[in-house]
Amino acid sequence: MADASPTPEEVALLARHAGLDLPAEYFQQLVSAYGHVRRMIDRLPLERARDDEPAHTFDPRAFMP
């Protein structure tokens, strides 16, 4: 979704997929909030080498009893 201003219909579809069945008042907030989130995501650089790892760590020692 390249458009920085998602339509209510697009947001409704995404909300259904997310299991969000919101009252109308909250749905309008969701549309507004998602517009801001969308613009942040659209600003993220996406060109990466295949082996560029996310800033996640998994240290198996952390889960030993």
């Binding site: 989130v37 942040m40 996310p54 800033a55 240290d59």
Partner: protein, 468 residues
């Protein structure tokens, strides 16, 4: 002698060790002051007065018999109301947790109790340490002791307000994008976001796992070092905890910053978020103090602040939704409107987008560490002086730039201290960030600055006038 309620931890612990001050006397001084004045500030949401008196009496007896266990023995403290405290309500300021009484203590609470501290109570926060200030959650937001019409910032609002007001000499907050440093700046106290993983988050209600830091606030950097000595250290039950030695933070406070190399990210301060003239003047004056003390200053160039903000906020909105998704789906009305707006869209972000943000965090963290390797510390203001306490536009979390979040993304230690006062009496702030795991140098620089200036001699006059 300084009024008991304005003693620093360092001063009070010396008096206690010398038997010139009893923990009972000190605890009563704080409890009396809180009872008399906190209705103006709302910095506490739960007081544990009887428990505190009992802990103070026990500390008194033990110190008389055996001497103090630590510098915190017999010293009162409080905790942001997201730190779990066994048997004491822990609400995160949320209606969802109005009756939440944990059965366990957070790791930090355990350490402070083991050190002999005296728990005074729990401090106001923003809902789940993220949404606020809010008037539609469990408690009203805290106010700024320098002027109650102004905000103490968030989310460790009550913690910073309580220390500045002389309600407690020590408290713990949490910092996911600036929530220790922002309130510390607004209230003119010292607050440290430690290196990521240095202080256990176990038993701290999460905001965003990948960026959450637990850390201390106090009146001085020296007191922050005393608290760090107690709460830092590996916790095998916190998956993000680092298994590294804990240095002697207090011993590191030499007062000597000769040769210290200070980097200043001028492009952030002059181009991206230009400082107000008054804040710029206070920052220049702070740098001049360091130059006089023998440090050197050089410019450093980092990626744009907006990239740090975008990465952190994209990751955070997803992690927050993951934490609160069940409640958002089934009872969204239980959230304050500010928090609900800030997290509800997290359910619509695709996994690929979350991971792309996490991949870019890698790029930004590497850039941050590469620059940090060329200097000893980085300095910049923490924030502009605090504005009026009023509802923020809900979208502000997504749109308002921040001088603090970059160090959450990098995981670097970052300290906020007071570096003067604006014409309206609100504090200016200086942020000192350091290399990963070099929290000691950050504290040394902060302590040296505080001891070279007179800002720590000034306390909120509004509260003092009210007392008299």
């Amino acid at each position: 002698m300084t009024d008991l309620h304005f003693l620093t931890i360092a001063e009070a612990s010396r008096l206690i060790a010398a038997r010139k001050l009893s923990p009972v006397e000190l605890t009563d001084a704080y409890l009396g002051r809180i009872a008399a004045l906190d209705d103006q500030l709302g910095s506490f949401v739960t007081l544990t007065a009887e428990r505190a008196r009992g802990e103070a009496r026990a500390a008194d007896a033990e110190i008389v018999a055996k001497g103090p266990r630590s510098r915190m023995h017999g010293i009162p403290y409080c905790l942001k109301d997201i730190y779990e405290t066994a048997g004491v309500r822990t609400t995160a300021q949320s209606k969802l947790l109005a009756n939440n009484v944990p059965v366990r203590d957070s790791a930090c609470q355990k350490k402070l109790a083991a050190a002999g501290g005296v728990l005074l109570g729990k401090n106001a926060t923003w809902e789940f340490a993220h949404g606020g200030p809010s008037w539609d959650v469990l408690f009203a937001p805290a106010r700024n002791p320098w002027n109650p019409e102004h905000t103490p910032a968030g989310s460790s609002s009550g913690s910073a307000a309580a220390v500045a007001a002389g309600f407690a000499p020590a408290t713990l907050g949490s910092d996911t994008g600036g929530s220790i440093r922002g309130p510390a700046a607004a209230c003119g106290v010292a607050g440290l976001k430690p290196t990521y993983g240095l202080v256990s988050r176990r038993g701290v209600i999460p905001n965003c796992f990948s960026h959450d830091h637990a850390g201390p606030l106090a009146w001085t950097a020296e007191d922050v070092a005393i608290l760090m000595q107690i709460i830092a250290g590996h916790d095998p039950e916190d998956p993000g905890s680092l298994d590294v030695p804990v240095p002697d933070y207090v011993a590191a406070l030499s007062g000597d910053v000769r040769g210290l190399v200070i980097g200043v990210p001028w492009q952030w301060l002059e181009e991206e978020i230009p400082l107000s003239p008054a804040t710029r003047a206070s920052f220049d004056a702070a740098l001049a103090v360091f130059l006089d003390l023998g440090a050197t200053v050089r410019p450093v160039l980092l990626p744009p602040l907006q990239q740090f903000d975008d990465v952190k906020r994209t990751i955070a909105v997803v992690e927050l939704f993951t934490i609160h998704g069940k409640d958002l789906r089934t009872r969204p009305e239980m959230f304050g409107s500010s928090l609900r707006y800030r997290i509800i869209a997290g359910g619509l972000v695709r996994a690929e987008e979350y991971l792309q943000a996490a991949r870019h965090r890698t790029v930004l963290a590497r850039a941050m560490q590469a620059v940090m390797a060329t200097v000893d510390v980085m300095m910049l203001p923490t924030a502009e002086p605090a504005g009026k306490l009023e509802p923020l536009p809900p979208e502000s979390l997504f749109t308002r730039p921040s001088f603090t979040t970059a160090f959450n993304v990098g995981g670097n230690p970052a300290l906020s201290i007071c570096c003067g006062f604006a014409e309206n009496g609100l504090p200016f702030s200086l942020q000192i960030a350091g290399r990963v795991l070099d929290d000691a140098t950050v504290l040394r620089a902060g302590d040296a600055y505080e001891k070279a200036t007179a800002w720590r001699d000034r306390r909120p006059s509004l509260v003092a006038e009210t007392i008299s």
